[in-house]
Symmetry: C2
Subunit: 252 residues, 2 copies
Amino acid sequence: MRQYVLPKYFKGDSEFKLNKEDSQYFIKVLRLKKKDKIFSRDQNGVPYQLTIMSYDKNSCLCKVEKINEGDTFETTDTLPEINEERPKLNLFQCVCKGKKNESIIRMATEFGVESITLIQSKFCIAKKESSNNQRYEKIIKEAIQQSGSPVITKFNDVINFKDFIKNLDMPLFFFHQISLEENLTLKEKVNSIDPKKPIGILIGPEGGLSDEECSLLLEKKAIPVTLKTNILRAETASIVALSTIHTLLVEK
Amino acid sequence: MRQYVLPKYFKGDSEFKLNKEDSQYFIKVLRLKKKDKIFSRDQNGVPYQLTIMSYDKNSCLCKVEKINEGDTFETTDTLPEINEERPKLNLFQCVCKGKKNESIIRMATEFGVESITLIQSKFCIAKKESSNNQRYEKIIKEAIQQSGSPVITKFNDVINFKDFIKNLDMPLFFFHQISLEENLTLKEKVNSIDPKKPIGILIGPEGGLSDEECSLLLEKKAIPVTLKTNILRAETASIVALSTIHTLLVEK
């Protein structure tokens, strides 16, 4: 189900004026007209029904009604929404080169991760420019709108690896090319954690994680995973890791 | 492990002259020099050791030695290879728009599928041009070389949906946005098939599969799957479907 993500400065008002870019998305892409309705969510995922009151080339004024549980509402398309409770996955992604970060962020958001945090690790070839944040947040917004994800994915700015380890507050799977621990199957590892609580997934950069980083992760009781696949590019590895852990959590 | 895929016209000769493009890949990208060795496979996946005898800007002459089981050989990098037996997945992908097909083909090859077949189905927005075949085969070759996949993925040209159904000769999972059958869990569905034999995975186009196509699939005893995720774009859906089925087959 397609949806619109209300911007951060929306504070629950009963009328809302869209900026130029979003107005053009409504009018030119979605081809909405006066009195048309669209399903929306604010930054906390709270659902709203928007009704178009008036529009011109550069702006669009909408009536805003909060949707409470059990309320009926109208949507722009008929694709179903999966409403089952789902694992709360959080992606920690070491910074990759150029457009790869964008592709990773888009797929992870579409898949419905709770948050995406970029990590600067030892073998990162690229330095993440904070000037890219706006671009990444735009990609996240687009992916939520297109996929109709009920999860409003949070983007966290880049942190260095040691700060990440210090502040880690959830069970973490980290994906590594060389097997570090063979005693448990992946299924047993996944079964050892609480599926209702937030779960972290760490993906290294193109150059992989360093031995020192792996040691720090193991000290923190992070769970090493070697996938029984080929060595994957970073952009493929992240979506494969997310769907592997998701599958083992939901198909018990 | 990086590897080189020998072209179709290689017939097991003890010396082999690379064409201009592959020579430049050896010399400029891999920076190989005289006497350097590289691991290679022919179109059937048979492993060979290549040793560079001489080269100039446009060509490269190699000594070719077949690698038999138990032989030692040299490689250009130290990334490990996963040698466990793996599920024989075959991707049947309805034609998508433009660059999406390329991205899907690249990820599926990297993941190690046995074959990729394009399907023209009712709701395909794009018509697949056979002029793209060369481009797709190039992408497959690159992906095998980069990922070191032991599977030499076969590319099959586009066929229409009805011919696909008529010639279907393996168990098939098809991914659908609307749940068609709720009696079995996905895990039970996967457990019902022989994991050693070829398995098909069908992904619809952007517009999904038609009701008639779904009926034909069910008549053929194809297995419908609705993933417990958001509605995914076709390019994300294919790699998520592949890793979901792979995970359930290898993590029993």
